[in-house]
Symmetry: C2
Subunit: 227 residues, 2 copies
DNA sequence: TTCATACTTCGATGCTAGTCGAACCATTTG
DNA sequence: CAAATGGTTCGACTAGCATCGAAGTATGAA
């Protein structure tokens, strides 16, 4: 490939269908094996291995070896963010203007973005916490207020157990389906884990969609009401 | 190209060096002719025409004819946003960790992001307006407060002359060099135009860098101080 | 009107990148 | 230990894409 701006290299890595499918499969903060990714991409293992090498070379993914299994995960949430931005172009260009089907409705409602909750369910949490002064926004920085800390403790999150250093406790993350923000950071991650632990929602095998149970959704809606 | 997720198509369009150079040239919200873009890309006019057709087909750019001249601009700020997100990957992967030279310092300080100011100068404005309660953030929505309206009027922006409908008056836009937000929307656009009109800064011909004069910078720093 | 300039389209060319079979290495299991 | 499984590397092949010369269309200027 001819010399060009660095974004050309990154974009060309994403621009191959097999690799794009792999990256998409990894958005939900899953670490998948090379074999699983080969299956996601619909290519042979050797082709997948070749592609994974390129993605790793380009710093889009990170490998982790466990015995004979080798797991790959996105290198960071900048990658997830860029993938979502690319999806945003599709959305804005009208390619996704017509809602394709139930599965995409599910993605719009709740899905995993890297390691935290995204979609309508997520943005309503963020909005609710802003309006109830549980979160305070200053520029990019998002802080948990004292009232907010009480709120999440009541929800069942052990704040003291969260990583004290990077990633930040709270972080705004742009939600492409809602065009608004949802909560990232270690708190966002903990909330997603807690929702799953409570059985309010569960993850499906081959998708980023997070499926709330009827009861779980009711409880979540109540929790995130803007009172 | 094999069928793949839509982001593969979009990314593959960006992933060609010639096209990436064109898109980069257009980030500064310039509308450039096909000849100018051919020059930016370092290809012949016929090759450029071919590429521009593909970018237009993919809804990344919009053409506008003026006599025998045909101008192309980015299709919208989602495109600029995605391009900046791709730059963010490069930055995060350490490819730009070592500051290459004065020009990139200039880009970090002040540059044009589509149609509004970005870089350090821009994020300090956003932060300042947040902390001085000139801007109010609720989720993704950013509102100009009464005090904020007074502030920008004092600065010389005719608020009533701004477009009443889309784009929104205020909009948060992620700044890749600063990893924080700067102000987009029609107000952001107006502010950039006003800075240039006042002579505080000027745009260079072949770059997104916005060069503040010494006086302009001092005035800007004072305006955006967080008092 | 003619000439110059901006841009588009077509066809041919060459290079690159993705693909898979084969062979190999690493780890686990029976 | 051998067999099975997960993964890597190499080589050959081919499809596809970017490129430019040539020819054509559209617009502006003299």
């Amino acid at each position: 490939m001819k010399e060009g701006p660095h974004i050309a290299l990154i974009a060309s890595l994403i621009g191959d269908p097999a690799r794009a499918n792999m990256l998409t499969a990894l958005i939900g903060n899953r670490a998948l094996t090379a074999s699983e990714l080969a299956h996601e991409a619909g290519v042979t293992l050797q082709t997948a291995s070749f592609h994974l090498g390129k993605l790793e070379q380009g710093s889009l993914i990170c490998p982790r070896k466990q015995g004979r299994h080798k797991y790959f995960a996105l290198a960071g949430d900048e990658v997830a963010h860029a993938l979502e931005a690319l999806m945003g172009i599709a959305a804005n260009a009208g390619h996704l203007r017509i809602r394709p089907g139930p599965k995409d409705v599910a993605l719009r409602q709740a899905r995993v973005c890297y390691n935290h909750l995204a979609g309508e369910m997520a943005t309503r949490l963020f909005d609710s916490m802003i309006s109830r002064r549980f979160l305070s926004v200053e520029g990019e920085d998002v802080f948990l207020t004292t009232a907010g800390a009480r709120f999440v403790r009541n929800f069942g999150i052990e704040l003291d157990a969260l990583p004290a250093k990077r990633p930040p406790l709270c972080r705004q993350c742009l939600d492409w389906s809602e065009r608004r923000f949802h909560l990232g950071g270690s708190l966002g991650r903990a909330i997603l884990a807690h929702i799953v632990e409570l059985g309010w929602a569960k993850r499906e095998q081959n998708t980023r969609a997070l499926v709330f149970s009827r009861r779980g959704q009711a409880l979540w809606v109540e929790l995130t009401a803007e009172r």
